[in-house]
Every structure is written in structure tokens, then in C-alpha cells.
């Protein structure tokens, strides 16, 4: 998930509320911040600098624009005066015109802006976007309903309408609406309950008549943006979808219920008119307005929060009570690869590939997430609990319970179990999502002392000085942050080795959580593929060839026995049969294979045999009657009756064909077929001798170092996804499983194994580096004691684990996924390591 283009004070200049009235026309109500800078005026047009060199447009245009500016507004102040103006005091020109500081926004007079920013009804609840040079005005205008009445009429209806409006308001949110409503930020739902308050209802019927026709026909909260040229669309989209639309809808909701926008606008306009007469300083007036109007206050909140990319919490004091609503631009808390621009926005984000799999896996297995992820709270547990209690509702208690149980070392699944089932898995999932969406937590693979953590290559080193100071306050008696990071970064090793003693473990885990939160570290994960060594490849090829020869032999002898001229057909039919024969012989190799594997190998072999039959087909293509059996064969039940079935069909075929030809033709045909049969027999014999001359596959204890002559030309094969392996690859996998099963025997028999293994382990093991050496050594010590029972476990695990050998699933997470002990998993994996190609990253 890439980071969206985010608003910042440099590309988000301000917000302004503009209304239109039926008789008095448009009015510019309020803008924030006080001074919205004019993007073009100062002559700093950053993007244009580059164009200017070969573009004379600018040279030509600028003077003419100045002309226009001066002549267009006769009351315009002298440019020199304007330049020195602090935009706070009132100016009076020589002609006696008063220039009011708040009547110039973004370099334009508000008189003009209010016209251009009140678009026609066609834009009602649609994107309205107008750009004035580099300044983009983006909004979502809201018009009064056609009947001219904002307020919904009857009380019953209003309740429904309120709900409808809410649904409408929330409908745009991409699926996080539930969470948006459930929490402390549940805006509209709360005041809906207040709306049911009967006391207020009676009073309302009275003003309904008076307020029937509001003179305000539309309102429009406009956002002034100044995106860079290449990010216009992205910034506008992001702002529109997540902020502009939602806030205008929230305003509309309040306007419909209590005429909020109009009443507040009247209040603000009155204050401004008075300020104009009194020539009040803009800053004083603005302070006044912000204190008096919750609408103005909410605009300030929006600007201050959104331009810093924080969560904006609106608090609108309508006469029916407080309406609260929160908006934000959701940002990813992680990225999967190092960003292009190391100093850009993405700098400092935590890196992981763990989440990139979610979409695929979550569909297949909903519990995947539960087992693989835990929740890391971004703030103190107590602080979050306090926040929740500050705004209680019916979910507060269970949410606090959830916060209490959440530990970064526990997966959601474990949290559910630990809370002694107070929390259902569904609750856990929903709450976690809620906390993540509202940036109170992130989802991480649970922390574990056996896992390895490295300095996040994307960490923001510019924050190091401050972070070091905070670290020192948090963990005063422990190594300083730079030292600890240095220690982590020198060479990766299990985290527990950094911890001086078992007693320190909890605090070291807290340190790790702190580092994760700040994006300072990331887990170093291991990803594996299955490597098929030449020895295995050869063994499978050899066996396949032997089967093939045996089958052809059998079919030829069968054909000779057959009464008539259908040799080819018999051979063809027999291919399938032989295929099953072969598969059964392979099944004997993999006796305790899981059923699914058996099935797959059967299909595989059938595939093979089919392809063989196709390759045989050209030989008989001259004989049209011989082809029909093949579709019939594929239709028939493959298991048992096939031979008989085909035989009968074959028996019939010659009968029908032999009726027409004359004796001479028959003889010729027979001779021809005999020639073909002879040729086939000769070829077969040649193949058989060639096969016999080949070296018999020898099973060494360590196929990876088998340098036998017949293997020299073959290079190892990598299975990219063992779960989806078909054809030969699945045969390789079952052969490897068989090897693992007989491993100890092989080890015992070969005296030289130990030496070669040494080299092999250091080469090939999961811990193929300095840090991992101890495991390798430990493993060798154990080699001597490996028993057949262990081998069985390894072989069983091979089948179970192979779905993780796809280069995408971190081996570190197998234990969580399979609910096994980490140590056992590692031992099993180490036993398999000869057949794994491992690569490590985050």
C-alpha cells in the first residue's frame, strides 16, 4: 500500500465557508487560517521556474496580469501599500476606501471569491473543483432541497430521515464506518438519541413554521489547496473522499436538524460587520469568532488537524446538543519495501511484508489474521482507557477489557483466549480494526524473544536526537538508544541474546515494543523455497523412464496378443492403464502420504500419460478409426473398469472397420501395422538398453553434495510454491519426504556424511550466517541421536509445512499458524534445511 499524497501546510492553504442566499446573494462567511497566503502573488511560483526557461508565456503574461489587476479594481490599494500590509489592520486608501483585512483571501477579494465559489445547483452533492493558477478550490456544495426547506417536517419522519442522513453520511466511508460509529468518535449516533428527547420536540413545532423557508439556499465549505503539479489529482481525490465530502455532510446533517449552518453564519457575519465598522484588528476579531461560533471552531479544528495529517474531531454545538464527528485520511502504518525517496513522506514507516499477504489469505482463512497478528498500542494503555471512559457507550467496558488484554506479544487469537473468552473473536477483530483505523494501535506479528529484529532500513534518523532523549527517560537504567540500535544492527541474532538475563526479559520486550512503535526496528524474517537437488531430479526422471519403458513393453506384448490390427489403439488405450500402474507403483514409494497428495500425484500421472498418448497419436494418425477410443476413455471411470472397458471397445472397433476392406487391403494394412509395431519394438529396445546403461540412482545421505558423474549436467531446481506444485514438482516433493523419513538410516550407513554435512549446513541452513551458527552446531550434536521416530515427525511435518515454502510466508510464523512450539518448529525446519533455499528480509 503506497502512501497517499498527504495534505500539509504547504499544499493545504485554508478552508472557507461560503453561503448563498435567495435574495441577498452569495456571502463569504468565514475562513481559516486568518491569513490564507496568495499562492501566485509573491512571484514564488516554484513549479514554473523550470518551465520558464523555454516558455515565453510567463514573460508575456505577467505584465498583462498586473495591468488587469490594477485596472480591474479601482478601489484596489496601491501595490506598495499592499506589500507592507500586515493583513491585520484596516487600510484606508487616498480615495477613502476602507480595506478590510478579512476581505482578501488567498490574494483575491472575497467579493469575487464568494461569487465564483457558489456554483449552480448542478453541483449539489458533487465534486466542485476550480483552479485559479496554482490555487485549487475544492468542495462539495450542499443545496437546500428543491422545496426550499432545510428541515425535515414531521418528527417521526425526522427520526428516519436522521437515520437515513446518517447512513447517507456514512455510506461513503469504505467499510470502516462501523468502527467510526462505535467508538468515542461516534458522532451522529449519539445525538440521535438526544433527538428523541421528548421535551425538545414540542418546542420545535413552533419554530418550524417560522423557519420554513430558509433564506440560505446553499452552503459550501471550500478547501484551498496548492498541490504540486504532478500530485493534483491524488491530493484532490484524497481530500475529497476522506475529508471534504464527510465534513460537508456532517454540516448538512446539522443544518437539516437545527438550521445550524445558517444560524452560525448569521452570528459570524454579524460579528464581522461589527468588526468592520469598529475597524477591529483581524486577529482580535478572529479570536472572538472562534470563541463564539462552534462552526468557526470546527473549521479551525479541521484545518489544524488535517494539515498536520491528524484526526480532526468536529464538535458542533447545535441547539439540539453536541454533534461530534471525526474525520481523517487513513494512512498506512507500514510499507513493504524501501521507498524510492529516502527522505520523503514514507521515511520512518515501519517495513514489513507480513501484511501484503493479508488480502489473499484472509479470504481463504479468516483466522489467518487472528493467529498471525497482534496489536501494538501506540499510546499508553491507561491513556487509551481514559479516552474510552471519557466518552462512554455500551461498548466501552469490553473495549477497555480488550485494551487491558492486548499485549504486543500476543496474537489476537491468544488475546481472545486469555480474556477467558469474555471477548469473542469477532469483537477482538472489530476492536482491533477500530483502534488501528483511529491510529491508536498498529497490527504487528506478535513480538517474540526468539525472533530476530534489525534496525529498520527506513527508520527516520532525523528523529534520533529526540528519540534518544525520550528513550533515556523511559528506560533510564538500560543502554542508550544509539547503543542499543548499534547492537541490533551489527549482526542479526535472536532478540533474547541481547538480553543480559532472564529477569530483564520483560523490560527488554517493552523496549522492543517501543522500538517497533517508533518504526526503529523491524523483524528479520526467513522465507523459504524448496530446492530439488540433481540427485532427486535424477531419481525421479529415472523412475519415470523405467515406468515408461515397462509400460510400453507391456502394451506391446498385449498388442501382439491382440487378435486383429489394432496394435496402435491398444497401445493407446493401455497408456492410461499403464499410467495407473505407474501411479500405484509410485504410491508404494510414498506409502503414508496424505490422501490429498495421493490424489494430486494420480492426477499428475494421468496428465503425464495423457501427454504421452498425444505424442503417440501422430503415429496412428493415418488410421482414423483408432482415435475414437480416447474421448471415451477420458469419460469412463478411471479407477478399475477402464481396461475392460477399453478392451471391449477395441474389440468392437476392428469388427466394424474390417467389414469393408478387401482381403488384399487387409493384408497390406496388416503388414503396415506390423512394420510400425516392429519399429516401435526396436525403439523400445534401444531405449531400454540406454536406460539400463544409465547409472542407477543412488540415494546418498546428502543429495546436495552428491557430485556423482551422472549428475554433473543437472542444476538444482527451485520449486516456487510447494503448495501449488503439480507434475514432476509434486513427485520431487514426495521423494524428498521419503528421503526425510529414511534419513537416520542413511546417516548411519554413510560414514562420510558428517563431514559433508558440516559444509552443507553452513552453506544451506536457515541460519546461514554468523548469528545462526549455534543452532547449526547444536543440530549436529543431535544428529547422532536422530531416531526413526524423529524422522517420521520431520517427514510428516514436511507435508504440513510445505505450504509455507513459497517465498512469501515467513517461517517464523509457522509456529503461530500451526499452534506448535517455536522450538519444535525450528528443529523440524532445521532437519529439512538441506532441501530449502532461504532468504531473509523484513
Amino acid at each position: 500500500m503506497a502512501l497517499p499524497v498527504l495534505p500539509s501546510p504547504s499544499n493545504f492553504l485554508g478552508v472557507a465557508l461560503v453561503i448563498n442566499r435567495s435574495r441577498d446573494g452569495p456571502r463569504f462567511v468565514f475562513h481559516y487560517p486568518q491569513l490564507v497566503p496568495a499562492p501566485g502573488l509573491s512571484g514564488t511560483r516554484p513549479e514554473c521556474g523550470k518551465d520558464a526557461d523555454d516558455d515565453n508565456d510567463l514573460l508575456l503574461t505577467r505584465p498583462s496580469r498586473l495591468d488587469g489587476f490594477e485596472t480591474s479594481a479601482p478601489s484596489a490599494p496601491h501595490p506598495a501599500n499592499l506589500a507592507q500590509w500586515n493583513h491585520d489592520d484596516h487600510l484606508v486608501t487616498e480615495s477613502g476606501t476602507q480595506i478590510v483585512p478579512w476581505e482578501h483571501v488567498a490574494g483575491f477579494p472575497t467579493k469575487d471569491l464568494e461569487n465564483i465559489l457558489t456554483p449552480a445547483r448542478a453541483y449539489h452533492k458533487r465534486l466542485f473543483q476550480v483552479s485559479l493558477d496554482p490555487l485549487y478550490c475544492v468542495s462539495y456544495p450542499i443545496y437546500v432541497p428543491e422545496n426550499g426547506v432545510w428541515r425535515k417536517k414531521k418528527r417521526q419522519q425526522r427520526k428516519d430521515a436522521g437515520a437515513a442522513a446518517r447512513r447517507d453520511d456514512e455510506g461513503v466511508a469504505p467499510g470502516d464506518t462501523d468502527s467510526a460509529n462505535r467508538s468515542g468518535e461516534k458522532g451522529v449516533s449519539e445525538d440521535q438519541s438526544e433527538g428523541r428527547d421528548p421535551a425538545k420536540g414540542t418546542a420545535k413545532t413552533a419554530d418550524e413554521a417560522e423557519d420554513k423557508k430558509s433564506s440560505m439556499t446553499m452552503f459550501n465549505l471550500v478547501f484551498f489547496l496548492k498541490p504540486k503539479k504532478h500530485e493534483v489529482k491524488d491530493l484532490v481525490d484524497v481530500m475529497f473522499v476522506h475529508i471534504i465530502k464527510k465534513i460537508n455532510k456532517a454540516y448538512k446533517y446539522c443544518q437539516q436538524r437545527s438550521d445550524f449552518v445558517w444560524k452560525e453564519s448569521k452570528k459570524i457575519l454579524a460579528l464581522k460587520d461589527k468588526g468592520r465598522e469598529d475597524k477591529r484588528n483581524m486577529s482580535a476579531l478572529w479570536e472572538d469568532i472562534l470563541q463564539n461560533s462552534s462552526l468557526a471552531q470546527s473549521m479551525q479544528d479541521i484545518y489544524d488537524a488535517v494539515s498536520q495529517n491528524k484526526i480532526a474531531a468536529l464538535q458542533l454545538e447545535t441547539i439540539e446538543g453536541m454533534v461530534t464527528h471525526s474525520v481523517q485520511i487513513p494512512v498506512p502504518f507500514h510499507i513493504s519495501d524501501i521507498p524510492q525517496d529516502l527522505e520523503g513522506d514514507e521515511c520512518g514507516l515501519w517495513m514489513t511484508t507480513a501484511n501484503s499477504l493479508i488480502s489473499d489469505e484472509a479470504v481463504e482463512e479468516p483466522s489467518y489474521l487472528d493467529k498471525n497478528f497482534g496489536l501494538l498500542l501506540l499510546a499508553d494503555e491507561k491513556k487509551i482507557s481514559a479516552e474510552l471512559q471519557g466518552d462512554p457507550d455500551d461498548t466501552t467496558v469490553s473495549m477497555i477489557e480488550f485494551v487491558r488484554h492486548c499485549k504486543p506479544t500476543l496474537s489476537f487469537y491468544q488475546v481472545g483466549q486469555q480474556s477467558s473468552n469474555v471477548l469473542t473473536p469477532l469483537q477482538v477483530r472489530k476492536y482491533a480494526q477500530h483502534f488501528i483505523y483511529w491510529r491508536r494501535a498498529i497490527a504487528i506479528p506478535p513480538l517474540h524473544a526468539r525472533d530476530m529484529y534489525i534496525v529498520n532500513p527506513n527508520c527516520d534518523m532525523r528523529k534520533l536526537p529526540q528519540a534518544t532523549a525520550r528513550w533515556a527517560r523511559q528506560f533510564p537504567l538500560l543502554p542508550a538508544l544509539p547503543n542499543f540500535l548499534a547492537e541490533l544492527s551489527v549482526s542479526p541474532r535472536p532478540y533474547k541474546l541481547h538480553c543480559p538475563s532472564k529477569a530483564h526479559r520483560p523490560v527488554y520486550m517493552a523496549m522492543l515494543a517501543w522500538l517497533m512503535r517508533g518504526g526503529w526496528v523491524t523483524q528479520l524474517c526467513t522465507f523459504a523455497y524448496v530446492v530439488v537437488w540433481p540427485e532427486i531430479i535424477y531419481e525421479v526422471e529415472y523412475a519415470l523412464e523405467a515406468e515408461d519403458i515397462a509400460r510400453t513393453k507391456r502394451s506391446q506384448s498385449g498388442a501382439n496378443a491382440a487378435p486383429s490390427s489394432s496394435t496402435g489403439a491398444a497401445a493407446l488405450g493401455d497408456v492410461a492403464v499403464a499410467g495407473f500402474g505407474m501411479s500405484s507403483s509410485f504410491l508404494s514409494l510414498t506409502a503414508d502420504d496424505e490422501p490429498s497428495d495421493v490424489a494430486s500425484s494420480v492426477t499428475t500421472l494421468r496428465d503425464l500419460s495423457l501427454s504421452h498418448s498425444q505424442s503417440l497419436a501422430p503415429h496412428q494418425s493415418s488410421d482414423p478409426d483408432l482415435t475414437p477410443p480416447s474421448p471415451r476413455r477420458t469419460l469412463s471411470d478411471p479407477q478399475s473398469h477402464i481396461t475392460a472397458h477399453i478392451n471391449t471397445s477395441l474389440a468392437m472397433t476392428p469388427a466394424t472397420t474390417s467389414q469393408q476392406p478387401t482381403a488384399a487391403e487387409k493384408a497390406a494394412e496388416k503388414a503396415r501395422l506390423e512394420r510400425i509395431a516392429d519399429k516401435a519394438a526396436r525403439e523400445l529396445a534401444e531405449r531400454a538398453t540406454a536406460h539400463a546403461r544409465k547409472a542407477v540412482p543412488e540415494q546418498t545421505a546428502h543429495p546436495s553434495v552428491n557430485a556423482a558423474k551422472h549428475l554433473v549436467g543437472t542444476s538444482p531446481h527451485i520449486i516456487l510454491d510447494a503448495k501449488k506444485a503439480t507434475g514432476k514438482e509434486s513427485l520431487y516433493l514426495s521423494v524428498i519426504e521419503k528421503r526425510l523419513r529414511g534419513r537416520s538410516a542413511a546417516l548411519a550407513s554413510s560414514a562420510t556424511a558428517r563431514i559433508s554435512r558440516d559444509r552443507n549446513v553452513s552453506n544451506n541452513s536457515i541460519h546461514g550466517n554468523r548469528g545462526g551458527a549455534p543452532v547449526g552446531v547444536a543440530k549436529q550434536g543431535r544428529d547422532a541421536h536422530t531416531t526413526a521416530k524423529d524422522d517420521g515427525r520431520v517427514a510428516d511435518a514436511w507435508g504440513k509445512f510445505s505450504k509455507y515454502f513459497n517465498g512469501q510466508s515467513a517461517l517464523e510464523r509457522i509456529a503461530l499458524q500451526e499452534d506448535m512450539k517455536r522450538k519444535d518448529v525450528w528443529n523440524l525446519l532445521t532437519a529439512m534445511s538441506e532441501y530449502l533455499l532461504c532468504v531473509r528480509h523484513w
Binding site: A120, V130, L132, T468, S489, V490
Partner: protein, 480 residues
Amino acid sequence: MIQGIFYARFFPQQGTKIVAQSPPGCIVPVHGVDKPCLFDFNVLQEYIIPRKAFCNRYITVNDPEGKYSVLGFPVSIPNPRYDRNEFIFNFGIVIECGRDGGYDGNPSNDIDQVPYERVVRRLAVTFAEMEKQSGYLSQDHDRHPPVDEQQERGGRVIGSYRRRPIESLLEIIKEDLNNYGECMIPVDDANTINMKLFPHHPTPPEVKGWHVPVAKMKFADVVDPTWDLTLQRVITQIDGVSDVRRIAYAADVSLELTQLALRHLLYYDTILLLDIFFFGTCYAPRPGIHDFIANVGGMVDECAHYVCVGAANHGTPPSDRGTGTSTGGSIGPGEGPSSGSSNPMDPKGSGGHRVSNYMLIKLMTTFCVGKTVMEWLKGHMDAGFDVLRFVDVRRLVQFGVIKGCLYRVHKYVVSKQYLAQLATGQAVPMAGGDPLQKYMDGCHTFDQIITEQNLTDAEIMNKLKSFPSSGVGDITVIYR
């Protein structure tokens, strides 16, 4: 694609009118064209000829459907000779917005408006100038009344004026820009409109002295004498090995100018910036390495083609240093990543041995955090594979970095004392203090120190040991 192009004018009596449009009927309906207009002109007209305050600037607006954007540059020419002392017009174009309201899932979704901005500006400026000089547009009005009035008038070429009507000009502009991306249109004897759509690229990042530029194309083939002289000198030194500072030195160009020149090349995406290769540095895999293992797009074969060295070269890593620019370094890096996929592998490979795909994957995957290239090399040597004999390690690493399989693990030095000063805002450059101190905030890689201070890694480490500040344990080295 330009969907429509129009010429609008403000008339003192009739208000805003479309005088010319192409295709006919795209903005306002005309007799004989049944196709609906692209949008409701009445809704948008206040943005086509806006209030005076907004004239003489580039203005865009979207239509309510979210389907089209109208790009215009309303021009107001004040002059007493006009009615109401002012002549206001706008040459605008309509293009698809490519927003969700429009075509969903359509490939045309990503329409870049930016190139059209120049077109609109150029039209406005040219016609404004022509109007100022000769009243080109205001005179034209006599022959070309607004569209709704001109319907009954058949022929529009009037003998005495031997110039093109604006409508046909607009049509040519639209067609040429849509079909060729540029146009050259003689408006009258004296004026020609030349326009071209240029793509807009974001500003490239800064080029630092310790970056190593790698050419993505053969500059020697495209350079011509009209190129900037500095650029010409700089490109001859780009060999995929030298860092920017070295290039500046070798080209006898100042470092700043070299950086500027390279940034220019970066803007046009003709070079890549890598890091300096040392045997003592670390590289580690990134998730992109899975594409390498899966040999996506024949990547491994491409790699083999690029990194395998001939048997003749064995023993030492072949260095491109000093082999000049035309063959050695610049072709290799440039050609390897870009064209390799089209020629899967070249078994003759300069007479050397082609390392098997498996071995290359093995080599690539065994890079690891905390293991220097030297240690990595030694590991493979011990395992019985003489890497240097078969593989150009620098090229292998570069290939990995370029393809996103590997990243460089940078080395930073951090002084705790200096950090504490920074945190409290007291950091003052120590007068006569160590020149290295400013590098100790964790934001400066060793590569930077090496190039800027002209020291080797080992020399820096030695200096750090004798760093005067606060004694033992103050300085730590972080790898990231």
C-alpha cells in the same frame, strides 16, 4: 485527448458567447449537429469568462458530472477603443477528467492535464498579443458573430480578408495535438502558433557527491554538439563506478555544476543513482528478490549475461575503472538492465563460463544484514565456489540494487553527546573542533564522510577512536 476546443468572448450586450468551437456543437448546440454538448454551458460560463479579478490567469473547472475539465485562460485587455473599455476572451479546451465520476476502470483514467496548461497559456498569450497589435480578434467579430447568429450565414471566407477563420484554426490545433502531440499553425503572415505537449515529471531528488550515476542509455549515441557543454563533459565520465565527486574531478567541472547536470539527466530518467561499491560494505535482500528467484522476465538470465566473467579474467575482479566510457562501464550498466530481457542469454558470454541460474540465485540470496561483501565472498569460497573467477561481484551487486533485489546497508556514526545537544537545541559547531562532529547525528552515511572528507573507511574509524569529545562509549556505529 482534447475533447473540444472553443473560443469564447464577452459581448457587452449579449454576455458570454461561444464564437468558435470544434468539433461543432461540443460546447453550445449548433444547427445540424445532433450530438449533445459535452456539458451545460450555462452552468460553467461564469468560469469561462469569470469576474475581472480572475482574468489573466489559468483557470480550470470540472463539470458537475465529473467527466470533463475545462481549461481556460480568460484574457482581459483594457483599452479605451473597446466598448466598455475592455475586450475579454478565452481560448479554452475540454479534456476528460479521468475522475471516478467519469469512466470507471477506463484506461484513460489517468489523463494528465498538466501538458495542456502550456497550450492554453500559449493560445491566450498569442491571441492577446495579436489583438493588441492588430485587433485580430475584435475585427474578426464583424465577420464572425456568435455561433447562434451565424447559422444562417453560409460561406464564411470573405474576399478581402485572406486569413483563416478561427474555427478552422481551432480544429487544426485540436486534431494536430490529438494526433501528433504538436502543431505548427500559421495564423497569418506574421504569426505562427507552435505548440507541443510535454510530459510533466516531478522534480528529481538532489544528486549528492557520493552517488554513483549509472547510465540507462548510451549517451555517446545521442549526444550532439548542441548539448550543454558541461553536460557533454560530464556524460563522458559516467561509467557506473565513479561517484559524482570523482566525475566532477575527472571532467574538470565544479561539483555543483556536475550535480546540476546529473539532476537534469535524472529528470529525464536517463540515469540511475546508486551507491559506491566497496568490498567492505553490506548488502541485504529486499522483497524484490523473490522476482529474481522466480526468474520473472528472465531476470536471472539477464543477470548471468551481465555478471559472468570470462575465464581469462579470473583471479581479480575485472574493473571498469579507466576502461573508458564507450565500451566498458557505460554500456554494461546501461544495456544490462534495459535490454537484457530481450536477449535471454548469450552462452558465448565472452568465452567465459556461464554460472548456472541456481548458483546466481544462491549468490544473490546469501547476502545478509551484518555480512560484508568480503565475508560473503569468503563464505562462498570456503564452500568451494570460486566466486571471483566466474562472477563480477560489483556487477552482481549493482544488478541486485538496480533490480530492487538488494539494498545497501549504510553505516552511520553517532555521538550520544552530540545527539543530546541536538535534542536540547544547544548544538553549536565546536570551534576548532573535530570536522567529523557534524556527521555524528545519524543522518550522514559513511559514504558521505568518505567523499567529503576524502578519507577511507579505516581512516575515519581511526579518527573516531581518537575523537576528543567525551571519552569512552560516546560514539557508536549503526548499520541501517
